[in-house]
Symmetry: C2
Subunit: 247 residues, 2 copies
């Protein structure tokens, strides 16, 4: 993706970079109409959050990194907005925690699947799952249920950023440990997750990678302690409080 | 515009109708990419407001109706999202308060101007201003400054729904009484307005029309009292409180 000329310490860096990338995503056929509306919803919540990673979100990102390092078969699920917003960052996170990357779309068309897979490869992904679609998530209608049997179908830990509530619930019902990135702490996706991260994806994914790199090589007990000490309900309450009160 | 089959008392009627109309707006070339993102931001704020017209917004809508009835030359400014979301309702409001309708776009192209004017005429507008563009708002760059000299240029009261902050400020500087409809009470547009209406436009415009029809024929003193008793800062505080606390 082309990048804008903007210093990383600019106060509105994340906001402007996000906007730039999402528009580039439209040009490339990656971002849908629904994706643009969803982007706007996220902007409003991020605005109320003060466009910052609040402490409870940072703790969630650290717990997510530990959970991914503990996993046997972690998968990062990528939809149109995720690909548009954080393709290089998702590739870095996958490398840091040895995860598969799988494209999953709410409105699945072969053309968008291919465009997103190509965009991810362009940013360094060496294998992109999701195109085989030989597995199904129970309790979802046909197109929305499709996954790769050896990808999300076989995963024990799944990262689903910016995911629709029905899908997030159906995945959680499958006994997979679900990590959700969503700026609305009241959304069903966030409420359903084992580890909900209420943060802008453009800040959340690099922070997860930093934590993973720092925790790499730690003993399982250390990682398990970090995961066990994380309480999803506390994180959601803190995020809602931050949005409601601006603190 | 095509309408969806949905009873008006459905709990998510406004939300679903809004979504349907905005997508129809994209098909017709009326709604831009920026418009879709703005729509999403509005959805998030409306969600936090409980998708309802709060009492302070209803009072603002009544004050706006009174102000419009008192005006010598009221103008309703229409951009892409306004046209997509409330074309028939804007035509009704213009009739109720004897106002002009003028198309004004942040990203002005002749093609979108024409598409929006055609869409408004299709919904009953007999005259649509904005295409002459022989007036300018001072302190704005060329394309964004364009207005009709005998429309917004000559107006004493202007309704600017979903307006960009720079434009709202430049209009307020012109000594025009500005009525803004915006779901974010912290936005510069809302902060700048003489009468800020923090409500979903799909609820706000018909409510303004109802108030105007009820107030029609009232003495100027009655209308002036309604306007004078309205306090913009109280309305903004009440709206922010509602969004922050969910009450």
């Amino acid at each position: 993706m082309s990048e804008i000329e903007l210093p990383a310490d600019h106060p509105r860096y994340a906001s402007l970079l996000t906007r730039h990338r999402i528009e580039d995503g439209v040009e490339k056929g990656i971002t849908s109409k629904q994706g643009l509306i969803a982007q706007g919803r996220g902007e409003a919540f991020d605005y109320l959050l003060g466009e910052q990673t609040i402490p409870s979100a940072d703790r969630a990102e650290r717990a997510a990194a530990a959970q991914l390092l503990l996993a046997d078969h972690p998968v990062l699920s990528v939809n149109g907005n995720v690909a548009a917003l954080v393709a290089p960052e998702i590739v870095d996170l996958a490398a840091a925690v040895d995860a598969d990357i799988e494209v999953n779309l709410f409105n699945r068309t072969e053309k968008r699947m291919e465009a997103i897979a190509a965009h991810l490869r362009e940013h360094g992904a060496d294998a992109v799952k999701g195109l085989t679609a030989d597995g199904r998530i129970p309790n979802l209608s046909h197109e929305r249920a499709k996954v790769d049997a050896d990808g999300i179908g076989a995963a024990d830990v799944v990262v689903v950023p910016l995911e629709d509530g029905d899908r997030a619930e159906a995945l959680a019902d499958l006994d997979k440990t679900e990590i959700v990135i969503d700026l609305n702490p009241l959304s069903r996706s966030a409420q359903t997750a084992a580890i909900p991260i209420v943060d802008n994806i453009i800040r959340a994914v690099p922070t997860m990678t930093e934590h993973a790199e720092e925790l790499h090589g730690s003993a399982s007990e250390t990682l398990n302690t970090i995961v066990d000490q994380f309480a999803a309900s506390d994180a959601l309450t803190a995020a809602e409080e931050a949005i409601r009160t601006g603190v």
